[in-house]
Structures are given as structure tokens and as C-alpha cells.
């Protein structure tokens, strides 16, 4: 209820106003807001009181209030889910590591932290879907930035590595799935597949990494992040490689034709 509404209410004769307000308050309205610091008309307060509808006031103008309150409601009712995985910020890219228990997601992320990247949370990532098809991973308030490392137990990343090693929230941009190498038969060998996966209805690029003893998974993680940044800039390495290969093959055909 802004200035326009208040003025309108004051322009009506008391019995009509009372009638209108009764009808309005009979609807399942959670509450009324009176903006601009205006005084709520007594008739409104009475009708609201009778039907048990709270009337709240704000100093903000109607437009500003509506804008801020809509944002608040959107954030509050945003779809969310918990996911078993580890979220890290690598070169500014949000990488969500998933995979079977005990495969080494936490150890991977620990190594990334050691190399200067940042942990958002380990084990249980709270994912919120924000407007604009954006998925954000949020750290857990109570548990802070702890991590479980098999053999070590629970460690506190913030205390061990400092403020530069942690983040409260990060947009999820790439999902990195760690898989046992025996299950890795279907691995994309060229990088042209551009696989995706879906979380809360949002499509995300998916990279599947088979774990083979001796392979440096940390560097692979960093390259996934930087490759993603390249793709965002418009350079798709695998496609570019294939394009050049096709060009080269075209030239060979031409030479054969000439020599005949």
C-alpha cells in the first residue's frame, strides 16, 4: 500500500471503505505493507485486526520496497538440494567434484587448496537455484570449512590454510565426476562430446575423470577450470584441433587430384 492507495482510501466515504476493506481482508493475504513511512488509515488497521492480517510499515518507497522484497522472497523460496560432493573455486571457476564414497574427492580438493585454490565445502554441498538458471553452492554455517580425509579424520581448512583458502559460496560451473578406472570404458576420448548433467533442472558441463594410480588428478582439475574459461571465450580446443585436421586432409586430396 503506497501513496496512491492511501489517498484512494481517504477519498472514499467511511462505510464504502469499510466494506471494501472487509472484502479485501477476507482473502488469504499473509500481510499488508504500508510504504514510504506513511500512516496506515485506522479503517485498514481495524479491518486487518478483525481478520487477523498483520499490517507492517516501511520507510522505503513502494518501488524500492517491492524490488527488495521480491528479491528476498525469491532467495528464500529458491529450490535447493543437498548433494554429496566437494565444491572448490579453481581459478575463479566453480568445480563440483562428485563420485562414489571414498574415491578421493576430498583429497583432490585438499590438493587444490594446497596449490592456492579455495574450498567452499566438502562432503555435503547445499545447492541453491538462483534466478537466471544459476546454481550456487553454499558452505554450511555450523560445520564451517571442515574436511574429512581418510586416515587423518576431520581437519579444519580455514585454520590450516587461512582465509585465502575458503569461500562461503560459489557459482557451480563445471561438474567433475571421478570414476573408478575399471568403469571408465565410456570415457570421452576427444573432448568433443561436451557432456552435460542436470542439477535442480539446470544443465551443467560434465567432465568424467577416470582415476588411475599415478595420474595427477589435481592438475587435471586445474586444466578443467582453465579449459572452461577458454570455452567461455569462444575457443573450443578439441573442435579447433579437429577443424585443423579436416583442413589438412582437404589439402592432401587436392594434391592427389593435381598429380593425376
Amino acid at each position: 500500500m503506497g501513496e496512491t492507495e492511501i489517498v484512494y482510501m481517504e477519498s472514499l466515504d467511511p462505510s464504502t471503505l469499510e466494506n471494501y476493506l472487509e472484502k479485501m481482508c477476507s482473502f488469504e493475504i499473509p500481510c499488508f505493507f504500508v510504504s514510504k513511512g506513511l500512516e496506515a488509515p485506522q479503517a485498514l488497521l481495524d479491518a486487518a485486526e478483525r481478520q487477523g492480517r498483520p499490517v507492517l510499515g516501511t520507510q522505503l518507497g513502494t518501488q524500492e520496497f517491492t524490488r527488495r522484497f521480491s528479491s528476498f522472497l525469491e532467495a528464500h523460496f529458491a529450490p535447493q538440494q543437498y548433494l554429496h560432493g566437494s565444491l572448490a573455486d579453481v581459478y575463479g571457476v566453480g568445480l563440483l567434484y562428485i563420485g562414489p564414497s571414498g574415491i578421493g574427492k576430498s583429497e583432490c580438493v585438499l590438493d587444490l587448496v594446497e596449490r592456492g585454490h579455495r574450498l567452499v565445502c566438502d562432503d555435503m554441498v547445499r545447492i541453491i537455484r538462483e534466478p537466471g538458471e544459476t546454481l550456487v553452492g553454499v558452505a554450511n554455517e555450523e560445520l564451517g570449512h571442515h574436511m574429512e580425509i581418510r586416515g587423518l579424520g576431520i581437519i579444519d581448512i580455514f585454520r590450516l590454510f587461512g582465509i585465502r583458502a575458503v569461500r562461503k559460496r560459489k557459482r557451480i560451473e563445471v561438474v567433475v565426476e571421478l570414476i573408478n578406472w575399471e568403469d571408465g570404458a565410456e570415457i570421452d576420448r576427444t573432448g568433443l562430446a561436451d557432456r552435460t548433467t542436470e542439477i535442480l533442472g539446470v544443465s551443467l558441463p560434465l567432465v568424467q575423470v577416470p582415476l588411475v594410480p599415478g595420474k595427477n588428478i589435481t592438475v587435471i582439475g586445474e586444466v578443467i577450470a582453465t579449459n572452461h574459461l577458454l570455452k567461455l571465450k569462444g575457443h573450443h580446443s578439441a573442435r579447433e584441433f579437429n577443424r585443423r585436421l579436416l583442413e589438412q586432409m582437404k589439402q592432401v586430396d587436392y594434391i592427389d587430384e593435381v598429380s593425376e
Binding site: H84, S101, D123, M124, E142, M147
Partner: protein
Amino acid sequence: MIPQLKTEVIILNKLGLHARPAALLVQATSKFKSDIYLKKNEMEVNAKSILGVMMLAAECGTTLAVSVAGEDAEQAVKIVVELFESKFGEDQEE
């Protein structure tokens, strides 16, 4: 058809699901191939993850929904239920 089982457990021990029982639970669940999840209200956690289990902050008297899916689901459910019922070996009256 992969066996999928659901059941409920109640936390009987006084101090709830703190570090020690959580560790016992995770040690037991990690031995199984099945996926095991515990749910408290809206929050569902992987029962093989100690951080996840502790994050539930499940106090004495809380009911948790257990879902298990996998080839050894039956044994997994049995062990999980046993652990909760035995109060994780705590609160023993001398």
C-alpha cells in the same frame, strides 16, 4: 533389479549422533557397496560421509529415515538398525 529398502531409526543414546557414534556408523556403512542415505526433515546425507552424518546434528529422540539401494541392501539395513538400537554401545548402565 537392484534392491531398494527404506526404514526408520530413532536415536536412543543420550548425546545423540555425535563424533563417536557417527564414526561407528560410517565405519560400518562404508563396508557396503550399496548407497546409504539418512534423512532428517529436509536434509538427506550420505551415511558413508562422517561430515554428512554429523551435519545432521541429530539429537536423542530424533527419527531418521534410512534409504538403501544396492546388491547388499538387506545386510546394510540390518547393520544400521542394529547400531542405532544398541545405542552405539553408549549409555550402558553399570
